[in-house]
């Protein structure tokens, strides 16, 4: 209930800002999905929480293990970090007897970079160290460009980019959709290894269609679900879960290339409730309105020079 009220206030806030600043909040700057965009559909109801994807990700990206608690034997990160690019987390409630139930239940959620349609990190980055591929839309990092300012971390509403705080020559670390594997015609390691098809790779258009197909399913009936990738040809048969009627990432933050289906509401899974227009898009349009082609600054500069020259002469 409290969240509902906050949403309402936010909408009011957005509306007021729109009304108050019409010249800088034109909606025409909405970025569209790339036709060649690829991504991941993560289905929480299919996930069994085995963490194979977490391990596969570490292997594929040469990431070091991360320990929690007192043990030092095996990798068991508790959240994303500069050592962990992808992780399965769990929502728990009450006696946690029922999978995908908000009450007395539990549900899994995979966290990783969302590969936004209009990524706040690429807008924020002053040095173009984070860029979005113009073909498939993956958001990748170039350490040779990065100055380590961490504005990407401030801007990312999903808190994905992480920084190596313990290193003298640190880098930003994030999921890059296994760009190095995509280049070889392979698919992201997490999807490749997922035993149930909970993490599914494919073209975003196809993933959205698949997500919509699943939303039409009757809970409890059995269906075929593609495994690894839409193009793999392999399927697994599962009973359909009870989906909530929402595809997370379809519109959030201007859309993301990683999409989610779940049996419990997404705020319980730790996915933020975001407006359709990224805040960075507002910052960008303010910046472009004021500085496009440096016309305004140059005109003001000229005017100031004339003014100052005249004042200085007056004084003499």
């Amino acid at each position: 209930m409290q969240i509902k009220r906050r949403d309402f206030l936010k909408t009011v806030a957005g509306g007021a800002a729109l009304a108050a600043a019409p010249s800088i909040t034109m909606a025409s700057d909405a970025v569209r999905r790339l036709p060649g965009a690829v991504g991941i559909l993560y289905d929480s109801t299919l996930c069994i929480g085995c963490q194979v994807c977490t391990v596969a990700c570490k292997e594929a990206n040469n990431m070091p293990p991360e320990f929690s608690g007192n043990q030092r034997r095996w990798d068991n990160p508790v959240d994303l970090s500069a050592r962990t690019l992808s992780i399965i987390k769990e929502y728990e409630s009450g006696n946690r007897h029922h999978k995908d139930h908000a009450q007395d239940g539990y549900a899994f959620v995979k966290r990783q970079c969302m590969h936004c349609v209009d990524p706040p990190c690429t807008t924020a980055c002053p040095a173009s160290a984070l860029t979005k591929d113009p073909q498939n839309g993956m958001v990748t990092y170039n350490k040779d460009a990065c100055i380590g300012c961490r504005y990407c971390e401030v801007a990312c509403p999903f808190e994905i980019p992480k920084f190596q705080w313990d290193r003298p020559f640190p880098q930003i670390v994030k999921c890059q959709l296994c760009a190095h594997l995509l280049a070889k015609g392979r698919i992201p390691a997490c999807c490749h290894q997922c035993p149930t098809g909970a993490s599914l790779f494919g073209p975003v258009a196809g993933l959205l269609a698949e997500a919509r197909r699943r939303q039409q399913m009757t809970a409890g009936k059995t269906y075929d679900f593609p495994l690894s990738s839409l193009a793999s040809g392999k399927t697994r048969t599962h009973r359909a879960g009870k989906y909530i009627p929402h595809i997370y990432g379809e519109h959030e933050n201007g859309g993301t290339q990683v999409l989610y289906l779940a049996g419990v509401s997404f705020d319980k899974l730790g996915l933020p409730d975001l407006p359709e227009r990224p805040y960075t898009a507002l910052a960008r349009s303010i910046q472009h309105t004021l500085y496009r082609g440096l016309v305004a600054p140059i005109v003001v500069f000229g005017g100031l020079m004339v003014l100052v020259a005249r004042r200085t002469k007056d004084k003499e």
């Binding site: 806030a13 924020a124 990065c146 705080w165 303010i286």
Partner: protein, 375 residues
């Protein structure tokens, strides 16, 4: 007209030595930072990637350093020539503020050896507000040194160079008004990107205007603060009359700011958050009370005639602008997920070290260079 003169006296005073000790400790922690990484000396984390160094050294430090900007605006744009004697000391403190902000950035950014990438067209990202801020601050620091150069040249009796520089000075003065207008407003735009992590008490499309207004206010306040303090410390008669007049103008500016600030929060329907009694709400009221208090103090003409009132009002305004900036960059910023941040001791010492360097340079400059005019 009375000419500016060095104040004279010993540079290495007790204050100077105390500052030196802090600088040495700060250097030790800095060595640690560069050998073992930011985590070794700061409490920064992935939830709060920006801390004290950004909020104070850069965002607040440059605003305190807006004295040169504010005075130039007054003298050259609003044609108030009588304030001209305040320009040179103002430019000097601005020069320190901005130069040290630039140095602080070097400590803060992780991959500092790549900083030149910002100047390479194939890396510079025109969508990035931070790029605009970084380039403007770098360029403006340079402009400030050029604006202050005549004082050095007078000291070195290099009059030929001085005439040459004087002829081109209007270009730098114009830049000195343009650049702060650009980057001080952009410091506000920058936090729009923080989106929902920034409390709606501060998150607004009007951040750039609010940041620009507070920068100008803090600039004037810095000039008044410093002049009254110095007049008292060195027994100068000071510039009380023009400072009083100046403060009269500041009253209108602060009133205008408060109208915009409250209108924004109310029109967005977020004023309710100010009555929640939590840290953000308390900070909101403290911040605005610090703006309101000087408004009351300076409203009457008698108050504006007293150096003590001028000094306290200016101090309150500096604090107000500082709290506003801390609220926008740290206190009103909550990434959720259980993240916490409070600066670590070494982090605070490094900031104090920078302030100490500024103080030491200030003492040397005013005692050896013709900055202030005497009675």
């Amino acid at each position: 007209m009375r000419a500016a003169r060095p104040l004279g006296g010993r540079v290495v005073s007790r204050t100077f030595l105390a500052a030196l000790v802090i600088v040495l400790v700060a250097l030790y922690f800095l060595a640690k930072r560069f050998m073992f990484g930011l985590g070794a000396v700061t409490n920064l984390n992935d939830g709060y990637p920006w801390g004290l160094w950004i909020a104070y050294d850069v965002v607040t430090g440059t605003a305190i350093g807006c004295g040169g900007y504010s005075m130039a605006l007054l003298v050259y744009v609003f044609n108030k020539g009588r304030y001209h004697p305040l320009v040179r000391p103002a430019v000097m403190t601005s020069m320190f503020g901005y130069t040290l902000a630039g140095v602080a950035v070097f400590f803060d950014i992780g991959r500092y050896w790549h900083i030149y990438n910002l100047f390479l067209p194939w890396y510079a990202n025109p969508d990035s507000v931070l790029l605009e801020v970084a380039l403007c601050i770098a360029l403006y620091s340079l402009v400030l040194w050029i604006e202050f150069a005549p004082t050095f040249l007078a000291h070195w009796h290099a009059s030929r160079w001085r005439t040459r520089l004087d002829r081109a000075m209007f270009v730098f003065i114009a830049l000195g008004i343009l650049l702060p207008t650009m980057h001080q407003s952009s410091l506000g735009t920058m936090m729009i990107a923080a989106g929902q992590k920034l409390s709606p008490l501060w998150q607004t499309a009007w951040l750039p205007l609010l940041f620009l207004m507070t920068a100008v206010i803090m600039g004037y306040a810095a000039v008044v603060f410093e002049s009254t303090l110095l007049a008292n410390r060195y027994g100068l008669p000071g510039e009380n009359r023009i400072l009083g007049k100046l403060s009269g103008g500041v009253v209108w500016l602060v009133a205008g700011y408060l109208v915009v600030r409250f209108a924004d929060v109310i029109l967005r329907g977020q004023l309710g958050l100010a009555f929640k009694g939590d840290l953000a709400a308390n900070m909101f009221w403290i911040e605005n009370a610090l703006f309101l208090l000087p408004l009351v103090m300076l409203a009457g003409k008698s108050g504006r005639g007293r150096p003590r009132v001028l000094f306290l009002a200016a101090a309150s305004l500096l604090l107000a602008g500082g709290v506003y900036r801390f609220d926008c960059y740290l206190i009103g910023f909550n990434p959720g997920n259980g993240w916490h941040y409070f600066p670590a001791v070494p982090e605070i010492v490094i900031t104090l070290g920078l302030i100490s360097v500024e103080l030491m340079a200030y003492l040397w400059f005013v005692k050896r260079l013709p900055v202030y005019r005497e009675a």
